[in-house]
Symmetry: C2
Subunit: 235 residues, 2 copies
DNA sequence: TTGTCGATTTTTTTCGAAAAACACAGCGGT
DNA sequence: ACCGCTGTGTTTTTCGAAAAAAATCGACAA
């Protein structure tokens, strides 16, 4: 089989997985980064054209996103992007502090060499990713934070943390990351968390992590404050 | 239009909502009660016949159940009922104690008259439902427990609690509820929780609730212990 | 016996079109 | 002017069949 046949028109190595998964990832990305606005209507027909696929995969992906709380299903009126609000932002922050604290403690307690190495690696990759490559940095940032919790033997708890992380990302993008994000020494905070975790100092790691979230939360809240949520909502 | 036309062959007033929802509820019930065993394969064709509908609603419902952790999606190999394990049972218990404690405190703190009345009502209905009507009792039992938390202003947290509750139900049915469930005075425990909540005694309510879960957990664990999980799994 | 390859049969996944539900605008009656 | 009704166009939801993928079975060779 010739290479030109294998890698035909700009498709690279795409449909290794199902169309449903492709649509899911794609839409999820668009929602998290704010490329499609909160409240925006998600018409199957439009999406069909946009993502070049049938109605079934789209519908399925939207169902998946519904349980992720990123999409709302209106009974006989289709789907729309979930709304955002200052209240939800606060709730997410609070829950993340509570749940990640639990997970972190379990993780550090159960941690082994494997976890330690993966964590160091994740941190290194994050540090190496330039801040300007926003989407990539976000991915590495998430990887680092999840790596901290990874040794925790509570799959369900981990899943909750993962979801909350994703829900939170939207607000980061919403606040815009141009100004002042580096004013705070975020790298230092990450390094401190890493060091504490590697020392197996559960208490210190927990304090650092929560403080990290609180500070980021504070920072974002300020930026979000001036912002009228009804203004960043479609329809 | 004649009544005989309106209510033709045994259809009563059924399809008020979408087929997807019908399938979702139906399957969810079957999974929670153990009518379909953990690990069982869920073939769309079989379900199509069984539930008398097309492939799309089934597929959609299965996607929904996937994010509820009640169904697993295997990449190109369809769906199966999520597995159960002693470890997961313990995890659920632990998480429920942590999260419901949080939710209960918030709920009681924010509670108003409306909440109080709904709670009393839910308790009454539960008491009035005979234990032998297992499914109905389960429903009322869930309503009561969720009513306790309902005033909490954290929709996401509530959703988590709801999910955990459902995940837990499976183990209740698995353990079988014939013997000894009444040996413990469960009604008393419920009444105590109710009283403490109505008194707005957060600490006491929390203690009662957690103890209630721990006891039930202990009770179920004993029953589940003898039980080889691989034996209650299909395939 | 063990293992591999190929053809056939399920099973999953996706598509395109039909059916049902809904929104909206225009019409007529009060 | 207001309200409700009906017809039209749009959108959502569902169905049935085709395409893609995996599992099964058996023959053949090591």
């Amino acid at each position: 089989m010739s290479a030109s046949l294998q890698f035909s028109h700009a498709e690279a190595v795409p449909q290794s997985t199902s169309a449903t998964r492709r649509v899911y990832e794609n839409l999820r990305g668009k929602i998290l980064t704010g490329e499609v606005l909160p409240g925006a209507k998600l018409k199957v027909d439009t999406l069909k054209d946009m993502l070049d696929t049938g109605a079934s995969p789209i519908r399925e992906a939207l169902s998946l996103l519904t349980s992720d709380q990123l999409v709302e299903r209106l009974d006989q009126r289709g789907f729309r992007v979930a709304e955002v609000s200052a209240a939800q932002f606060r709730e997410i922050l609070k829950l993340r502090c509570a749940l990640e604290d639990m997970a972190l403690r379990e993780s550090v307690r159960a941690a082994g060499q494997e976890w330690e190495e993966a964590l160091v690696l994740a941190h290194h990759r994050m540090v190496r990713t330039p801040r300007v490559s926003v989407r990539e940095f976000e991915e590495q940032h998430k990887s680092f934070h999840m790596a901290l919790l990874a040794a925790c033997e509570s799959p369900i708890l981990l899943k909750f943390c993962d979801r909350l992380y994703d829900l939170n990302i939207r607000y980061r993008y919403l606040a815009g990351r141009s100004q002042g994000y580096e004013a705070r020494d975020v790298s230092k905070e990450h390094a401190d968390i890493l060091a504490a975790a590697l020392d197996r100092d559960v208490e210190l790691a927990s304090v650092c992590l929560i403080q990290h979230y609180r500070r980021t939360g504070q920072f974002l809240a300020e930026r979000l404050e001036g912002l009228d949520f009804s203004k960043v909502t479609a329809r």
